[in-house]
């Protein structure tokens, strides 16, 4: 009798537990679909191809200036963050001793934990006020750089550490210098992982608002090539400001901007995961490295030292989101 009741209770608990678990998963999926669905629906209602080539005027108009401004800001920041991040990642993975590598990794982690508004405010204090650049593309680009840098650095380092040590040893055995080894041997298999890092960092930078409010300002004109003393518009500003205006035109514009932004960011995310993720796996198993198990094992052993800093892990097509949003 006793056991029967207990069994029933345990069964109940089981159903209750898994029920709640599926409910939670459903809730998360519902939030995602509701969010994307809302933006898609209202965005498509108000979207017109015209907005892509007219500039904003007053509470209506188009998105051309913001679109170009976002591209311009992202271009500036990628031009700075990609070389710094990739070279920094190469240094951390290939040159640095254990202690130096730990220090760099640690700083990158702290830097990625600094709230984006603080980074924006720092750029405002230093560049906009102290250096007198005013609201400008360069100030905005630099604050985006600070946001992208730790992410690119860590993803580069992580993908380099996936490359088995034996490849390096073979190259060194042929008399290659370290640079030649990196340039001709190590970078190739790690390329996809590095590209993933850069592209995902671009997706993050495109969606940022807080660091730009204080640095890029806002302009209804198309961006010029002038780096300082000229404010730039950007897409996220329209979403943020125009939805708070009381006019239907402004709302329509905000939804269009959100639609464009969301589509670009989601497409980048999905495409990177689909294309690069698949392209990366066969590269390791193709012909040259016949014994895949061995190379993987070595890769793992090499990667161990930084197991906690590894933002993602290309071999297994898993992109750790914590690194993505930090």
């Amino acid at each position: 009798m006793m056991t029967g009741r207990r069994r029933r209770r345990r069964k109940m608990n089981r159903f209750l537990g898994w029920g709640c678990a599926w409910l939670a998963a459903g809730l998360v999926l519902f939030c995602l679909t509701d969010m994307v669905g809302t933006v898609l629906l209202r965005g498509l209602e108000s979207f017109h191809w015209r907005v892509l080539w007219t500039t904003t005027s007053g509470s209506s108009g188009g998105l051309a200036n913001a679109l170009l401004g976002t591209l311009w800001l992202v271009a500036i920041s990628v031009a700075m963050a990609a070389p710094l991040g990739i070279l920094g990642g190469v240094y951390t993975a290939e040159f640095a001793g254990q202690r130096t590598a730990r220090v760099i990794r640690f700083t990158a982690e702290i830097l990625s934990g600094v709230p984006s508004i603080v980074i924006g405010y720092f750029a405002y204090l230093l560049m906009v006020l102290t250096w007198g650049w005013g609201f400008s593309a360069l100030a905005g680009g630099i604050s985006l750089t600070v946001i992208m840098l730790p992410y690119i650095l860590r993803s580069t380092e992580a993908s380099l550490q996936q490359v088995p040590l034996t490849l390096r040893e073979a190259a060194w055995g042929l008399g290659m210098t370290r640079f030649q080894t990196i340039r001709y041997v190590v970078v190739k298999p790690a390329m996809a992982g590095m590209a993933t890092g850069v592209l995902l960092a671009v997706a993050i930078a495109m969606g940022e608002t807080a660091p730009l409010l204080y640095t890029a300002g806002w302009s209804t004109m198309n961006p010029s090539l002038q780096l300082t003393h000229q404010p730039v518009g950007y897409l996220t500003y329209i979403v943020y400001k125009y939805i708070e205006m009381p006019f239907p035109d402004a709302h329509a514009l905000a939804y269009s901007a959100a639609l464009v932004l969301l589509m670009v960011v989601l497409l980048l995310n999905v495409a990177v995961r689909l294309v690069v993720g698949h392209a990366f796996v066969p590269r390791f198993s193709r012909g040259r490295y016949r014994d895949r198990k061995t190379t993987e094992g070595l890769g793992e052993r090499r990667g161990k030292s930084s197991a906690n800093a590894v933002g993602f892990d290309c071999g297994r097509r898993r992109v750790d989101t914590e690194a993505g949003r930090l």
């Binding site: 969010m35 240094y91 702290i110 709230p115 720092f122 230093l126 608002t209 996220t236 989101t321």
Partner: protein
């Protein structure tokens, strides 16, 4: 041959130096941020003292009136900078977010780790990661146009009726913009972080442990509840702390749904509020109008406070997560 090799050596050395310089850039940026923010916060620290942490009023003073000198620094007359409202708002909205996000993400991670496999798991995991990739303004937009009306017309009245006994759940619901809405958008933003980390932790629990539980006659739920959850405890707490740090530093989504309260502590779950990050973003105009520049310095102090809080939380979180990851799994029988 000899010549080429010497060229190669030079290139190698140059590359080494360039990479080293690039690798030091995070250190340079971090040092730059800390130095600039601290230097710019100094006048405000001297002007406000501890008052900054305890006072409720944030008033940049009469910008057209005279200037006032105190403790050797100048501010607009009547200026008073107190950040208690924002500290309370930041902590309260983040805690509310975690109250919602922790159970949801733990359970979602369990589903991802143990109830799905193959293509379904890949798709669901990617969807959760996509949620993390959605720009915060878009989440704020959703919060403004979908969430706050829902809170104001449905959830708020329901909560205040059901939970009327608890003082914080009662009260006028208003527009829906406020603490609860901020907590909700923050929860949406922290769920993917906590879920992804927890799923990885759950996948690392040795199969032998779970098989042992099943062998003892536990139901699959009991295995999760009594074996897997205790195994991932440290890592999970770390993941939650990571989410907490993230929630405290989040700006745009909160700015759009919080109602931007100034000089007012939240009275109930629905009252307008503001967080440190959102307030800094919101105060651009006042910073520009203050002739004495004290508003700029005070915002700088607020940013400094925010940075200290989030960085400390993040460091603690990372320590916990890596403790959880590095945990040695001892198995009774050698699995191999």
């Amino acid at each position: 041959m000899q010549k080429a090799s010497s060229v190669a050596k030079t290139i190698d050395r140059a590359f080494h130096v360039a990479a080293g310089i690039a690798a030091s850039s995070p250190v340079v940026f971090l040092a730059g941020i800390v130095t600039i923010v601290v230097i710019q916060a100094m006048p405000s620290i001297r002007f406000n003292g501890w008052h900054f942490l305890t006072s409720l009023t944030w008033n940049i003073g009469n910008v057209y009136g005279g200037l006032e000198h105190e403790h050797g620094v100048t501010a607009a007359s009547g200026a008073s900078f107190g950040s208690r409202v924002f500290i309370v708002g930041t902590l309260a909205s983040s805690v509310i977010a975690l109250l919602m996000a922790v159970p949801v993400s733990l359970l979602t991670a369990v589903v991802l780790a143990y109830r799905t496999r193959g293509a379904l798991r890949a798709i669901l995991s990617t969807l959760v990661e996509l949620l993390a990739g959605i720009p915060s303004v878009v989440i704020g937009l959703w919060g403004m146009t979908v969430l706050t009306p829902w809170i104001s017309t449905q959830l708020g009245p329901l909560l205040s009726r059901v939970g009327g006994v608890i003082p914080y759940l009662r009260g006028p619901v208003g527009t829906g913009m406020g603490l609860l809405a901020s907590g909700c958008v923050l929860a949406v933003m922290t769920i993917p972080i906590i879920t992804a980390t927890t799923r990885d932790l759950l996948l690392q629990v040795p199969t032998l442990y779970r098989e042992g539980g099943i062998g003892l006659g536990m139901t699959d739920w009991e295995v999760v509840r009594h074996i897997c959850f205790p195994c991932i405890r440290e890592g999970f707490i770390g993941a939650v702390a990571l989410g907490f740090g993230r929630a405290m530093g989040e700006t745009m989504a909160v700015l759009m749904v919080s109602g931007n309260a100034v000089n007012l502590l939240p009275q109930n779950l629905y009252s307008p509020t503001s967080t440190m990050a959102a307030f800094v973003a919101d105060q651009l105009d006042s910073a520009l109008t203050d002739a004495s520049k004290m508003a700029v310095h005070a915002l700088s102090e607020l940013a400094l406070l925010l940075m200290v809080l989030t960085v400390a939380t993040n460091l603690a979180a990372r320590r916990l997560v890596s403790l959880g990851r590095r945990r040695q799994w001892r198995t009774g029988v050698d699995a191999r």
